[in-house]
């Protein structure tokens, strides 16, 4: 019996127990599995903010398509535990843990990330390029993800989201007291507030 088949039987058995009044299903062989007999069904609540398959097209909501699965899981746990305060992701992270964070993380890791379509001012990008000199040590010149360092992809990310996160790091409001993030926060403290949107614009412009 395949894993999917076995899972289906388990789910069905659970369904029969908890829902005795559930509608009777027609007898006979089941149809072939469809797109929703997969983790796709488990991420239905995410699209309202994060877009189709995690590719948010807006300024403020982060793109989560293509995100490293281990990084994704760590963030969900941080939201659920309160280390990353968010009125939106606080509740939803707990829903993800209830559904199965590994499956959800694997789903988004498997999606192709499409860079943000949000346009940024070229002058801001240029200022950001200069101001981001200190960021390269961890994020590299291209702003790509580095799972070994647990750094996420910044290139092509939504600029408004990057701006908000830089501010949270600077204020030590994101994962306060976490030793692994002490370096990034020390760097952020040296960045003047008016340069923060520039750095965000620069990284969002990278492809």
């Amino acid at each position: 019996m395949s894993t999917i088949r076995r899972l289906a039987v388990v789910v069905l058995a659970g369904f029969a127990i908890v829902l005795p009044a559930a509608p009777a299903r027609a007898q006979g062989p089941a149809s072939a599995p469809g797109p929703f007999d997969s983790p796709l069904a488990k991420v239905i609540t995410c699209a309202a903010c994060h877009g189709v398959n995690g590719n948010s097209r807006s300024d403020a909501m982060p793109i989560i398509a293509g995100m490293d699965a281990a990084y994704f899981k760590k963030q969900v746990q941080a939201y659920a535990g309160g280390a990353r305060p968010s009125p939106e992701m606080g509740p939803y992270s707990k829903q993800i843990l209830d559904i199965g964070v590994d499956e959800v993380a694997a789903f988004f890791a498997g999606q192709r990330m499409e860079p943000t379509p949000v346009k940024v001012d070229p002058a801001a990008v240029e200022r950001g390029r200069v101001a981001a000199a200190a960021c390269v040590a961890c994020h590299g010149p291209a702003g790509k993800a580095d799972p070994a360092k647990r750094t996420p992809a910044l290139a092509g990310q939504a600029p408004g989201y990057l701006r908000d996160q830089i501010r949270l790091f600077k204020q030590d409001a994101r994962n306060p007291g976490e030793a692994a993030l002490a370096a990034v926060k020390a760097v952020m403290k040296t960045v003047p507030d008016e340069r923060i949107p520039d750095i965000a614009a620069y990284y969002s412009s990278l492809r």
Partner: protein
């Protein structure tokens, strides 16, 4: 029964029905109008192309493109209720909230701009002006209709006393009335008793109209007659926001019982209040088609459903979603309707394919604007426990700010695409 046999059975059943129609035995419908039968396919009919129905139609097609999907929606455009309060404050135009149904058509949904006149659960048909439409599964997303009769004088005045509670022409009319009101004029808004569509919606509207009046008509005031004992949703956050609006005169437990357009006044159980511009949001119930189809409960207002499949507890093979539902611990919001659209579509596809139904819970993300630049939010996450939707957690934004407003904008971009794109 094998798939093939079952389809054969459906065809046979439909043929018998068509014969009955031809004989004038059902409703006297001419045989040339006849009924539209599934052409060997399974068919899902969706009634209502709002947040729930449009999403459901799209997701049935994504789940199984071999299923024929017919969406019945009289309006040619989807107009978003969320963000429509911004139109009243002159901060958005209605066009920016309006979308055609081309996106759904591209996905193979047959969008028909027709009114579903009746549902016949026994024969699994929907009656239209042009004939009948048979279904294997029906998803009803009827939205709300108004209980005009509960306010004396309102049934006769419902064309002129605006609700603007279904985004569209009334939204634009109310915006014009507010703009045309002289400085010093009184705007009266009445909040219906729970349950109604969009619990924080009236209070967002109050905030935005108060912001507009403060900026443009500083001598005007806004009297709120709330049928409820307190602000229904995001209470503390709205109270905080209203500190900036001394032009709001909020009166709790003031249910409007009558309106008189000749004297321009509304009457509550205790009081008479004069208005220059009136926004009377009437008491609500499930859309008429749900009541007529016997989908509502003993209260004749709302529809009880299975929490996993959204099938009606009253009628088999009929799913009910969105604001019309009751019994789940969820608000009547666009976000919830969108989620119910997906879950019911996934369940309908599974049930039609004789596959196990998955246990999926909705979520609710609900932003409210409190000024031209700032917003607040409430978020609810749910799970399925013992076959029921159970809340995991509710959280509010700690304060109003521009960052929440930016995320509200982001939410609309994503969710409008999800519903109608």
């Amino acid at each position: 029964m094998s798939e093939l046999t079952r389809r054969g059975f459906l065809r046979t059943g439909s043929a018998a029905l068509a014969g009955a129609v031809a004989a004038g035995g059902l409703s006297g419908c001419a045989s040339t109008k006849g009924e539209t039968q599934p052409t060997g396919k399974r068919r899902v009919v969706v009634i209502g192309g709002g947040w729930g129905g449009a999403t459901a139609a799209k997701y049935v097609r994504i789940g199984d493109p071999s299923i024929e999907v017919v969406l019945l929606e009289p309006n040619r455009q989807f107009i978003s209720c969320p963000f429509s309060n911004l139109v009243l404050a002159g901060l958005r135009n209605i066009e920016s909230l309006s979308f055609g149904y081309e996106g759904l058509r591209k996905r193979g949904v047959q969008v028909r701009h027709e009114m579903a006149l009746a549902v016949e659960p026994d024969t699994k048909r929907v009656r239209l002006a042009s004939g009948y439409l048979s279904y294997d599964r029906l998803i009803v997303s009827p939205g709300v209709d108004f209980q005009w009769e509960l306010v004396e004088g309102l049934p006769a005045a419902k064309e002129t006393v605006l609700h603007a509670w279904k985004a569209g022409p009334q939204t634009v009319q109310l915006a014009r009335q507010i703009q045309a009101m002289p400085d010093g004029g009184v705007f009266v808004l009445t909040v219906p008793p729970v349950a109604y569509r969009c619990p924080p919606g009236p209070y967002e509207r109050i905030s935005l109209v108060a912001w507009y009046l403060k900026a443009n008509k500083p001598r005007s005031k806004l009297i709120v007659l709330d049928a409820n004992p307190n602000i229904v949703s995001k209470t503390a956050l709205f109270r905080e926001a209203w500190k900036a609006y001394p032009n709001i005169d909020y009166r709790a437990t003031n249910r409007v019982v009558a309106v008189d357009t000749s004297t321009r006044e509304v009457r509550t159980e205790f009081d008479r209040v004069k208005y220059d511009v009136l926004n009377l949001i009437p008491p609500q119930r499930a859309g008429q088609i749900a009541v007529d189809a016997g989908l509502t409960g003993a209260d004749n207002r709302w529809c009880e459903v299975n929490h996993v499949t959204y099938e009606s507890v009253k009628q088999p093979r009929i799913h009910v979603i969105g604001d019309a539902t009751t019994g789940l611990p969820v608000p009547k919001s666009g976000n919830v309707a969108n989620n119910m659209g997906k879950i019911s579509a996934i369940a309908a596809v599974a049930l039609l394919g004789d596959r196990p139904v998955q246990l999926l819970a909705p979520g609710n993300t609900c932003y409210s604007w409190v000024s031209n630049t700032e917003a607040i939010a409430v978020v609810n996450a749910y799970k399925i426990e013992g076959g029921k939707v159970v809340q995991i957690e509710q959280r509010l934004t700690p304060a109003q700010n521009a960052s929440v407003a930016a995320r509200a904008e982001g939410w609309t971009q994503s969710i409008w695409t999800d519903v109608i794109g």
